[in-house]
């Protein structure tokens, strides 16, 4: 009976997690579908024409948070694949939970003079880190506690991984790099969540009550809406963003401009409303600029995507029953949340996909054959980008494909250069050859060339067939000799 009771209690607890913008389900889902969209779209980008992203087979050992905690979550050593590290980064970014609840806000307009959270009940607040979410996730220089999983560190780990020759060390750096990426993508999802970009605290401990968008958000909507079209202007903005940080800032600006959070609704409705959290009203959106539909009590706005979205609702059952006037103050309902999610989810996924795109350094692998020395010479050249402006000298193993099949011979690349000697004995004549590098199931291939060097014959027998006496070891000019063996290009 006790067991049954325990199961019931546990079930109720788990069921309570079914909704909301939490790190256990929603943020993992966001990261998973951002990665999914990246994998669907990367072949369209010319810089990745030689890349293949699988990221789902090789395990990389590293430190992961495996049990939540307000102040001290549990960290254990785990072997996750790259995509799992990214998904789990969505979860671990909110750990420990209490400080994360204060640091994950960014107001792109600094409407209250600061970009970090100022909507705090100072009497109840446990601390005030005075750092905004963009700074925290990208740079992480909070004087109270530095962030070990920032974008900047993630890129450093990526560079270290690609410049070390030691395989175990490389995988350890990659685990850290992908966790950093996952934590930054958590920030992307937050920048597409209205209360996080409108200085609207939520969650208790001096942060006021919960926010309806966060609390009624259904994570199942991510999988059903992540492919929705976004507005063309934002496609261009995301495509053209120079850095990952710019992407999250642009997303935050969009969310701030087009959406209310529950306590920052302002404008002219039944009466004039100001932000319920007591802070200065935002310039957009405004109730009087929206379309109000009396039959459902919703305020609507047409988004850049063309979708008509429910912004808030002022229907009141109690006032309607008591006074016959069903209109009250505007707030965000669960139905409004689901409507808003159809616009915000694809925006998050599109921005996130572009962030993943910028996380990978670009390399061009080139190979050529030096016929005279019978060598294959190659280079792994780093192509500088806004994110990886410095030079990266790749060190590590180089694999080869012969006619598309992975060969068992390899080369070691040192400072971006590698070579294979005696290729006439390794690569059959007229076969196509490609070099490649592979890390965390991400493959970059070189140009494809054909080996035109003719391999030396392997003789197995010699016979002088014009000398009828068959004198051993003797021959005369004009004799016909029969050679037997293997000759390149002959069958």
């Amino acid at each position: 009976m006790n067991k049954l009771l325990a199961i019931i209690v546990f079930s109720v607890f788990c069921a309570s997690l079914l909704y909301s913008y939490d790190n256990k389900t929603a943020h993992r889902e966001f990261n998973k579908f951002i990665l999914s969209k990246f994998k669907e779209d990367y072949k369209k980008w010319p810089e990745f024409k030689d890349y293949t992203f699988l990221m789902n087979f090789t395990t990389l050992k590293g430190s992961a948070i495996t049990k939540s905690g307000w102040w001290s979550p549990t960290t254990t050593e785990e072997n996750f694949t790259a995509d799992k590290w990214i998904t789990e980064g969505g979860y671990s970014a909110d750990e420990p939970e209490v400080p994360a609840a204060y640091r994950h806000f960014y107001d792109p307009l600094a409407n209250d003079g600061k970009t970090y959270l100022t909507d705090l009940n100072k009497a109840l607040a446990l601390f005030n880190p005075q750092i905004d979410a963009i700074n925290w996730h990208f740079i992480g220089n909070d004087p109270t506690n530095a962030n070990d999983w920032t974008w900047v560190l993630g890129k450093e780990y990526m560079v270290k991984a690609l410049t070390t020759i030691n395989e175990a060390e490389r995988n350890a750096y990659l685990a850290k790099a992908f966790r950093c990426l996952g934590e930054v993508l958590h920030n992307t999802a937050d920048m597409g969540c209205p209360p996080h970009v409108r200085n609207d605290a939520h969650g208790g401990m001096g942060l006021g009550g919960p926010d309806p968008y966060e609390s009624t958000f259904n994570p199942a909507l991510i999988s059903t809406n992540y492919k929705n079209e976004i507005g063309q202007p934002y496609k261009t903005i995301f495509e053209d963003a120079k850095t990952a940080m710019d992407l999250n800032i642009e997303l935050a600006k969009f969310t701030n401009k087009f959406f209310f959070s529950d306590e920052t609704i302002s404008g002219q409705g039944v009466e004039t409303y100001t932000s319920r959290n007591g802070k200065k009203d935002y310039p957009n959106p405004k109730l009087e600029k929206l379309i109000y539909e009396e039959e459902n009590f919703n305020y609507y706005s047409t988004m850049p995507s063309g979708r008509k979205i429910e912004m808030c609702n002022d229907q009141s059952l109690l006032l309607g029953y008591l006074t016959q006037n069903f209109r009250s103050y505007p707030r965000v309902t669960k139905k409004n949340t689901s409507s808003q999610a159809t616009e915000l989810i694809p925006m998050i996924v599109e921005a996130g996909k572009q962030i993943v795109r910028r996380f990978f350094p670009l390399f061009n692998i080139e190979i050529s054959i030096n016929s005279k020395d019978k060598k294959l010479i190659g280079s792994v050249k780093h192509i500088p980008t806004s994110e990886y402006a410095g030079s990266i000298s790749y060190n590590g193993k180089i694999g080869f494909k012969i006619d598309g099949q992975i060969s068992n011979f390899t080369a070691n690349c040192s400072k971006g250069n590698f070579e294979i000697t005696e290729i006439d004995t390794k690569i059959p004549t007229n076969k196509k050859v490609q070099a490649f590098i592979n890390f965390a199931d991400i493959t970059i291939v070189s140009n494809e060339i054909t080996n035109e060097i003719i391999a030396p014959p392997v003789l197995t027998g010699v016979k002088n067939i014009s000398d009828k006496w068959q004198r051993y070891n003797q021959g005369f000019a004009g004799d016909t000799i029969l050679l037997t063996g293997t000759f390149a290009g002959c069958t």
Binding site: L4, N121, G209, A220, S316, L317, G320
Partner: protein
């Protein structure tokens, strides 16, 4: 009795699978469970309404939200008991540890009423 327990156990296992599993929650679902605290809170609200106890009813609202409703409640306190009947048929449509939303149907219209766990550790009515 044993059959009933087996069925309940089976349903709970299904619930566990869908709510705690590592797989994607692919289907939006409205089947959520009302916690004991929430049920208790709603019972207290309904009790106050049934007694036409305006002050007690207002006390269940958060301070921020009470101001939108107090006047109408005080002026129409005799209607509260009947209003309680509407709340008897409610459906929980969203819930986490801090927030809950019920759907109520009245005169063919659907309404959302919401409540939250305040910083004093007590559930409070937010929007009704």
């Amino acid at each position: 009795m044993r059959k009933v327990i087996v069925i309940i156990f089976g349903l709970l296992i299904i619930l566990l699978f869908f709510s705690c599993g590592g797989e994607s929650p692919t289907q939006p679902s409205d089947n959520i469970t009302e916690s004991k605290e929430l049920k208790e809170f709603m019972n207290n609200v309904i009790f106050a309404l049934k007694n036409n106890d305006a002050d007690s009813f207002i006390s269940y609202f958060s301070e921020k939200n009470a101001k939108y409703y107090s006047k109408a409640i005080i002026e129409n306190k005799t209607k509260l008991a009947d209003f309680a009947k509407i709340l008897e048929n409610r459906k929980l449509i969203a819930s986490d540890s801090l927030y809950a939303v019920y759907e109520v149907t009245y005169n063919g219209m659907t309404f959302e009423i919401s409540m939250f766990l305040d910083e004093d550790g007590k559930w409070k009515l937010k929007d009704m």
